[in-house]
């Protein structure tokens, strides 16, 4: 419970800091880079190394690559759909969220089978 609270506090601060950085910059396409900042990883990797060791954290980072690839596909689709159909941002981002789950878990399962 304490560990989760610590993660919550650190995660909240790091994510907010990157969001503020994103607010500060113009143009919008550059500010958008901060939407895919390694905020959760920065908040959590140090704690993971301290509690579970470097080998465990490295395994998490390996999977994170797949999550990041899924983020790339998801954000590109959100952008394309937004430009193409001028949809409401919240509905588009939430509606396409299953894409992130499908790509990240799909890639993870494929890698498991291949290995």
């Amino acid at each position: 419970m304490t560990e989760s609270l610590v993660r919550f506090a650190i995660g909240g601060v790091v994510v907010s800091l990157f969001a503020i950085l994103g607010d500060l910059f113009q143009p919008k396409s550059f500010a958008g880079l901060f939407g895919a900042a390694p905020s959760i990883a920065l908040a959590t990797l140090g704690l993971t190394v301290a509690h579970s060791g470097k080998a465990y954290a490295a395994l998490e980072a390996r999977s994170m690559m797949l999550g990041a690839a899924a983020f790339l596909v998801y954000a590109a689709l959100v952008s394309w759909a937004g430009m193409r159909w001028k949809l409401d941002a919240l509905k588009t981002t939430l509606g396409l969220m299953p894409v992130w789950f499908a790509v990240s878990f799909g890639a993870w399962m494929v890698l498991r089978v291949v290995r």
């Binding site: 989760s4 907010s16 998490e60 994170m64 941002a89």
Partner: protein
């Protein structure tokens, strides 16, 4: 051209900052719990979860809409365009996120964790920035070509 606009921080309302903090905190805590329950393979995926992306995207849209409304314009379309452009930036940032993860995966063992995480963060910034610059250059070149070919067509029509 990249510029810093400190005044844009005033556009966010206090509840928007609280919302980002809570979303970010919840997603980070959840990533830890998922890793504990399902192992580092599944837990690692969530280190790149688009945690506050929907909320941020929605804020970009509403800020742009508000700005246009204050200028007496109908800003719904512009707000949605701004959110789509912001998402394109996030896609480029995700390329940097992949490089960050690759560096932590390959370099962590046998080295200082703080040093590796700092170097990976720098690599994220450099990769994301380079990807943004390349996309921007490409868009400019394509636009210039389109304009040139349109004016060539117009000149050809005039000649006829």
């Amino acid at each position: 051209m990249i510029s810093v606009k400190p005044g844009s921080l005033k556009e966010s309302r206090p509840h928007e900052y609280v919302m980002r903090f809570v979303f970010g905190g919840l997603c980070t805590a959840a990533a830890g719990l998922i890793a504990k329950k399902f192992g580092p393979g599944v837990g690692g995926l969530f280190l790149a979860f688009p945690a506050i992306f929907p909320a941020s995207s929605s804020l970009v849209e509403s800020h742009e809409k508000r700005r246009k409304k204050e200028a007496g314009l109908q800003g719904e379309r512009r707000g949605r365009d701004a959110a789509a452009v912001d998402a394109a930036g996030a896609a480029l940032g995700a390329i940097g996120l992949m490089v960050f993860a690759l560096m932590v995966w390959r370099l962590l063992e046998g080295r200082s964790a703080a040093g590796v995480i700092a170097a990976a963060t720098l690599a994220w910034a450099v990769t994301a920035g380079a990807a943004w610059w390349m996309r921007r250059t490409l868009v400019h070149v394509l636009r210039r070509r389109k304009t040139r070919s349109a004016s060539a067509d117009a000149a050809e029509l005039e000649r006829r």
